[in-house]
C-alpha cells in the first residue's frame, strides 16, 4: 500500500442562492494515494468540478476536512491557500486557460515567477517542461498560433514546471478530437508512471478514463462506485 496523499473526510459543499440552499456534495469521504491516477466520472452537475476544486485548493468545503500530505488545507486563509497551490498543485483546464498575450514559454514560466529561481534557472526549467510535452520548438509561439492539442500540452507543461506533487485536470481532453486526446492522455499517463505525479482527472469520456489507474463515479454529490481498473 502506497501512502495516502489526500484524505477527504465527510466533506459537504452547498451554495446559497437567495432562500435556496443547493447541496452539491454530501458528506463525501475519499482517500487518494500518492502516485495514483484517478479518473472522476459522472453525469453533468454531479459535483465533479466542485470536488476537484476542493482538492486543488481553489474552493473551501462547507463542512468536513481535507488533508494533503498531512496538512489541513480546508482551514487555510485565501493567501496561504494560494501559496499552497503554487507549491503543490498543477492545474489543467478544459479550455487550456493560456494567457493569449504571452508566448508558450512565458505561459509555462508563470508559476516560476512565484519562486525565487533566477531568470536563467527559470528558462532552463521552462525548456525542460516544454521538452517533456514535446513542444520545445514552439516556445516562442503565441497560444493563437497553436493547435488545441499543442495548447493543452503547453498548459500541461505549465502545470508541471514547478514540480508539484499533484496534477488536477478538469476534462483536459473535452475540447480535443480523438487522436489529439489520445496524445494528451498518453502524456498524462507518462507523467504519472515515469514522473510519479499523482493525477486526478475529471472526464466524461470512458475511453479517456481507461488511461487512469482508478475510476470513481459520482452522482448527485455522492461517490457511487469505486473500482480498480487495468
Amino acid at each position: 500500500m502506497a501512502e495516502t496523499l489526500i484524505a477527504l473526510d465527510r466533506i459537504s459543499k452547498h451554495y446559497v442562492r437567495g432562500k435556496e440552499k443547493i447541496e452539491v456534495l454530501h458528506e463525501l469521504s475519499l482517500n487518494i494515494e500518492q502516485g495514483d491516477f484517478l479518473a472522476l466520472m459522472g453525469p453533468s452537475g454531479s459535483g465533479k468540478t466542485t470536488l476537484l476544486n476542493l482538492i486543488g485548493g481553489l474552493d473551501q468545503p462547507s463542512a468536513g476536512t481535507i488533508t494533503v500530505s498531512g496538512q489541513r488545507i480546508d482551514t487555510l486563509s485565501g493567501g496561504r491557500l494560494a501559496q499552497w497551490r503554487a507549491r503543490n498543485v498543477g492545474f489543467v483546464f478544459q479550455f487550456y486557460n493560456l494567457l493569449p498575450v504571452l508566448t508558450a514559454a512565458q505561459n509555462v514560466e508563470l508559476p516560476l515567477l512565484l519562486t525565487h529561481l533566477s531568470k536563467s534557472e527559470r528558462a532552463r526549467r521552462v525548456q525542460i517542461a516544454l521538452t517533456v510535452v514535446g513542444l520545445e520548438d514552439r516556445a516562442k509561439h503565441k497560444p493563437s498560433e497553436l493547435s488545441g492539442g499543442q495548447a493543452q500540452r503547453v498548459a500541461i507543461a505549465r502545470a508541471l514546471v514547478a514540480d508539484p506533487t499533484l496534477l488536477v485536470c478538469d476534462e483536459p481532453t473535452g475540447d480535443l478530437d480523438r487522436k489529439t486526446a489520445d496524445e494528451v492522455l498518453g502524456l498524462l499517463q507518462t507523467l504519472n508512471r515515469e514522473h510519479g505525479k499523482t493525477l486526478i482527472m475529471v472526464t466524461h469520456d470512458p475511453r479517456a478514463a481507461e488511461y487512469a489507474g482508478h475510476q470513481l463515479h459520482m452522482d448527485k454529490g455522492r461517490l457511487i462506485e469505486a473500482g480498480a481498473q487495468a
Binding site: 466542485t50 494560494a82 501559496q83 486557460n97 515567477l113
Partner: protein, 396 residues
C-alpha cells in the same frame, strides 16, 4: 514565495501587455482625463497669468500713498496740500538734481471703442508727472515720444494700443473732451500699466474739472525705508493716508478675479473629473470582467490577491497619467503665453495678460490625473480580488 514586489511586477507587466487588445475602452480613460487636466490647467493658467501680471507690476521698494481707508486708486483722493508733505517725507530717493523721485497721479476711467467693435469699454487713464519714467524705470517708450506737460497728449500702453480703436501714433481719441493726440506707445515689462493710457496730470485734471490727484507714487531709497516712511506719514495727524508697497497693493487688486477664475477652474474640473472617474470605473470594470478568466487562472496558479489589486490599479493609473500628460501638454501648447484681456472686476478696466502654464500647474494637473486613476482602478481591482476563483474559472 517570491516577494510581493516581484508578483506585482509580473502581473502588472502582463496587464499592460493586454491593454492594446482593449485599446478602445482604454482610450476612454486617456481622453477623458486629458480633457479634465487640459481644462483645469488652462483655467488655472489663466488665473495664474492674471495674478502674475498684476503682481509683477509691484516693486517692493516703491510705495503708493492713498487716502486712508481707500481700497484702490479709483476711490482715493490726496489733497494738493498734502502732496509736498508726502514728497518730502524721509526715505524717498532723490534724483541727480536732489528732487524726490515721486509723482502725484490722477487715476480715472474713460471708455473707448475696442478695435472692430462699437460699444465702448472702460480703460484706465492715468494722469501723471513728466518724471514718471524716473519713478517707473521699467517703462520704455517704444514708439513716438513722451507727452508734453500741459498738453492734450497721451501715450498708450502696448496692450491698450492693441485693444482700442484709435490708439496709434498720430491718432486722436476722446478722453475728457475730444482731441487727445496719441504721441507715444510704451511698454512696461508686461505689467498692468500696459493696459492703461497715460497723460499729463495737470492737463487731465483741468479737462475733467478735478482739483486733486488720487495718489502719490514714490521710489524709496530701499525696501527697508518703507516702515520709517509709513510711520512718518501715519503719525502726522493732518495726513490720514494709507501707505502700501506696490506688490501688496497689486496683489490685493488681483485677488478677487484670480480667485474667481481659480474657483471656476476647480469647479469645472471637479465636474469633469467626476465624469472621467465614471468613465474610468466603467472601463476598468469592463477590463476586469473580460479578463476575469485570466485573473482567475493567475490566482489558481498561486498569484495572490494583492498583486492583482495593485496591478489593476497601476493599469488605471498608467492610463490616467498618459491622459494627464496629454492634457497638460495640450494646455501648454495651446495656451502657454496666449494673451487675452479681461475686465478686472475691481477697477472695471481692461487688463491684458498671458496664460501662464507653470510647472507647478502641470504637476497639479498630473496629480489630478493620478488621483482619478487611483479611484477609477481601486473599486474594479477590489472586485477582481474578491471574485471567487472557482466561480470565475467556471465562467470561462
Amino acid at each position: 514565495m517570491a516577494s510581493a514586489f516581484a508578483q506585482v511586477t509580473a502581473v502588472t507587466a502582463l496587464n499592460l501587455r493586454t491593454v492594446p487588445s482593449r485599446l478602445g475602452p482604454s482610450m476612454v480613460i486617456v481622453i477623458g482625463i486629458a480633457g479634465v487636466v487640459g481644462v483645469l490647467v488652462a483655467l488655472l493658467a489663466m488665473a495664474e497669468g492674471f495674478r502674475a501680471t498684476l503682481s509683477s507690476t509691484g516693486r517692493a521698494d516703491r510705495v503708493l500713498v492713498l487716502r486712508g481707508g481707500a481700497n484702490d486708486e479709483l476711490s482715493s483722493v490726496i489733497y494738493r496740500s498734502q502732496v509736498p508733505t508726502i514728497e518730502q517725507a524721509p526715505g524717498i530717493r532723490k534724483d541727480a538734481d536732489g528732487k524726490p523721485i515721486a509723482a502725484a497721479e490722477v487715476f480715472m476711467l474713460t471708455s473707448l471703442p475696442r478695435r472692430g467693435a462699437t460699444d465702448p469699454t472702460n480703460v484706465v487713464v492715468r494722469g501723471t508727472q513728466p518724471n514718471v519714467l524716473a519713478v517707473r524705470p521699467e517703462v520704455r517708450i517704444v514708439e513716438g515720444r513722451m507727452f508734453n506737460s500741459g498738453m492734450r497728449e497721451i501715450i498708450a500702453g502696448r496692450g491698450a494700443a492693441a485693444e482700442f480703436e484709435g490708439l496709434t501714433i498720430g491718432g486722436s481719441v476722446a478722453v475728457r473732451g475730444d482731441g487727445w493726440k496719441v504721441v507715444g506707445i510704451f511698454e512696461s515689462g508686461g505689467n498692468v500699466h500696459e493696459s492703461e493710457i497715460w497723460t499729463d496730470a495737470e492737463a487731465i485734471m483741468s479737462a475733467a474739472n478735478r482739483g486733486a490727484p488720487t495718489s502719490v507714487i514714490a521710489q524709496l531709497e530701499s525696501e527697508s525705508q518703507l516702515q520709517p516712511f509709513k510711520d512718518f506719514l501715519t503719525k502726522d495727524p493732518s495726513m490720514t493716508v494709507d501707505v502700501l508697497s506696490e506688490p501688496k497693493y497689486y496683489a490685493s487688486r488681483s485677488k478677487m478675479l484670480s480667485n474667481l477664475i481659480n474657483g471656476l477652474g476647480y469647479f469645472v474640473a471637479v465636474v469633469m473629473a467626476i465624469g472621467a472617474l465614471f468613465g474610468a470605473l466603467n472601463t476598468m470594470y469592463a477590463a476586469v470582467s473580460t479578463r476575469s478568466v485570466e485573473i482567475a487562472t493567475l490566482r489558481a496558479l498561486g498569484f495572490g490577491a494583492a498583486p492583482v489589486v495593485v496591478s489593476i490599479m497601476l493599469e488605471a493609473i498608467v492610463l490616467a497619467l498618459a491622459g494627464g500628460i496629454l492634457g497638460a501638454l495640450i494646455a501648454f501648447v495651446l495656451f502657454n503665453g496666449y494673451t487675452i484681456s479681461t475686465l478686472n472686476g475691481q477697477t472695471f478696466s481692461q487688463v491684458a495678460f498671458d496664460f501662464r502654464v507653470t510647472p507647478a500647474l502641470l504637476v497639479q494637473g498630473i496629480v489630478w490625473a493620478a488621483v482619478i486613476g487611483l479611484f477609477g482602478g481601486l473599486f474594479p481591482a477590489l472586485r477582481a480580488a474578491r471574485m471567487p476563483v472557482a466561480e470565475a474559472l467556471r465562467a470561462g
